[in-house]
């Protein structure tokens, strides 16, 4: 169980907010909104369960719907066990039938059921969804621990958000998009840039800042001899940006190994972080990509920046 309350900020573990100002942006796994996924289930004799569990183990890695939160075996009636095999999106009826056939299992009871697609954020909700649809495994919400251990320096967050707001308001010919990259250990602003795509189509403010960090590091290395003092890319830096970044910029930040990003305004059609934006990539929290970073949206109304055309990739 998470020892809550250690964090000096007010954390809402259900809605994932901090002091009612920062909203944690992650992929949908811990959302409190119920969504269901179609799965194949069969009924088996209890002594067949090792065979079936072997089958489930083999298939679960490739399943596009992670089902770790779903109880796989459930004793229902007649002493039989009902088993959740895999999602319907993973395998067709024919494929499931042939896999069961290989293991010598009967296929008469095969049917489609609906189970919750992800685990809810609280134990009570897990019990409730379990009663309504299918029993779930509750192992605590790992995100509670993650949020609880995060450190926030609101003074610096506020001053850096104010900085990008001011910079953004100075854009005349340019789009009003502004970014800074900060070293959270010293709170020094390492790079700051507005959007420059009127000069170069790929000079979005995030890309410009990453480029400036590398130029800064190149210069710095000329005056230091100790390689242990070298900084690797944007490793552990924090990024503040006015508008939710596009796919290119979000992936550039993955390549650059940043630790955390804050933004002010969602980009509903083109954004790459919020699961509700664009195609819902959540690049910073994607299980197939090689690293991750934390993302928070400022949900207070203190910092106002101009809207973009919905088709602009920020």
């Amino acid at each position: 169980m998470v020892k809550k309350g250690k964090n000096k900020h007010r954390i809402d573990y259900i809605h994932c907010t901090v002091d009612d100002k920062l909203l944690q942006i992650s992929n949908k796994r811990t959302s409190s909104e119920l969504s269901l996924v179609d799965v194949w289930s069969i009924k088996i004799q209890p002594h067949d369960s090792p065979k079936v569990l072997g089958l489930i183990r083999d298939m679960s890695n490739d399943d596009p719907h992670p089902l770790q939160h779903v109880k796989r075996l459930q004793k229902l009636e007649d002493g039989l066990l009902t088993v959740i095999l895999c999602s319907v999106d993973l395998a067709s009826r024919e494929e499931v039938v042939s896999l069961l056939g290989e293991k010598g299992l009967g296929i008469e009871t095969i049917e489609v059921r609906q189970v919750p697609a992800h685990c809810p954020p609280t134990k009570d909700m897990a019990l409730e969804w379990g009663k309504l649809y299918w029993p779930l495994v509750w192992k605590g919400n790992p995100n509670d621990q993650i949020l609880n251990e995060m450190v926030f320096n609101f003074d610096h967050i506020r001053s850096d958000l104010q900085l990008i707001c001011t910079n953004s308001s100075k854009c005349c010919e340019q789009l009003p998009i502004s970014t800074v990259i900060v070293d959270p250990l010293t709170n020094a602003v390492i790079a700051s840039s507005n959007d420059e795509r009127h000069r170069h189509p790929l000079d979005h403010s995030v890309m410009r800042c990453i480029q400036l960090v590398s130029e800064y590091e190149q210069q710095r290395r000329e005056s230091i001899d100790d390689p242990s003092d070298h900084h690797y890319l944007c490793n552990n830096y924090h990024v503040y940006t006015t508008h939710e970044p596009c796919t290119m910029c979000a992936m550039a930040l993955i390549h650059s190994r940043i630790a955390r990003l804050f933004y002010l305004k969602q980009s509903p059609k083109t954004g790459a972080l919020d699961p509700e934006s664009g195609p819902g990539y959540t690049i910073h929290d994607h299980k197939l990509l090689n690293s991750k970073f934390e993302v928070f949206k400022w949900i207070g109304d203190e910092y106002q920046v101009a809207d973009l055309d919905e088709n602009v990739n920020a």
Partner: protein, 243 residues
């Protein structure tokens, strides 16, 4: 693609990741790129970006570009990219932003490919610029270049991994799941109906490997450099054939 592979082989022999690309405009190589993330201390100087930057500089250096295009980057509507490895998610999105015409690549990038391996950025709805991206061109050669690289250590990484025990395998290749990248009709239109079976079997269209690509004497790139240095000859696009 053989030119792109030669560039990648050159990169391998100079200690960079063996990923390279060429940009072709009206049958001519007008720019090329190799990864330079180690030297530049920037994680985003991928081959594609270097090639794109070179083209924009060339267009801007052409006196009359504005009689053909309203922006220098409009030229990308007539440019195709040949790259040894599938563009990453960042580059796939960048290629969309500039409006590339078509992409051809060697092997997929299972860790962060943006043309179908991990995400399919090239055809998503974030912008009207969608492009088709054809995988599997000299795929085995591209894989072997990477395998060769990953048997060496990247001493610039924070914690270099010891890879001394790895060997270069020449005989086994992963499947190519064509449907991640192309529809069957896109595949048949490009590779020919007679290759349809490759699509169904997730098999390479080119099974034979040209090992000369990996030779240590196949690293002279002066002809490509030469071609990329030629000034641009911009021409009006033919809008219709009835004239």
């Amino acid at each position: 693609m053989r030119k792109a592979l030669r560039l990648a082989n050159h990169a391998l022999h100079t200690g960079e990741t063996p990923v390279a690309c060429i940009f072709v405009y009206r049958g001519n190589v007008i720019s090329y790129g190799m990864n330079n993330t180690n030297d530049s201390l920037s994680g985003i100087t991928h081959a594609e970006f270097r090639g794109i930057n070179a083209i924009l500089e060339k267009v801007e250096a052409t006196d009359n570009w504005s009689t053909f295009y309203s922006h220098p980057w409009d030229i990308f509507r007539e440019i195709d990219l040949y790259v040894t490895v599938e563009p990453c998610v960042m580059c796939a999105s960048a290629l969309k932003h500039i409006g590339i015409r078509t992409v051809y690549f060697g092997c997929g990038n299972e860790r962060f490919g943006g043309n179908g391996s991990v995400l399919k950025i090239n055809t998503d709805d974030t912008s009207p610029n969608r492009y088709v991206s054809y995988p599997g061109i000299y795929r085995r050669e591209a894989i072997l270049l990477l395998r060769d690289f990953y048997t060496h250590e990247n001493i610039k990484a924070p914690v270099p991994r010891n890879k001394k025990n790895r060997e270069l395998k020449l005989d086994s290749f992963p499947e190519l799941t064509w449907s991640n990248y192309l529809s069957k009709s896109e595949f048949c239109d490009f590779f020919g109906k007679d290759k349809e079976q490759c699509y169904d079997l997730n098999a390479d269209v080119q099974q034979d490997i040209d090992l000369s690509v990996l030779d240590s004497d196949n690293i002279d790139i002066s002809d490509i450099e030469q071609s990329a240095q030629e000034p641009l000859q911009l021409r009006k696009r033919k809008l219709c054939d009835t004239a």
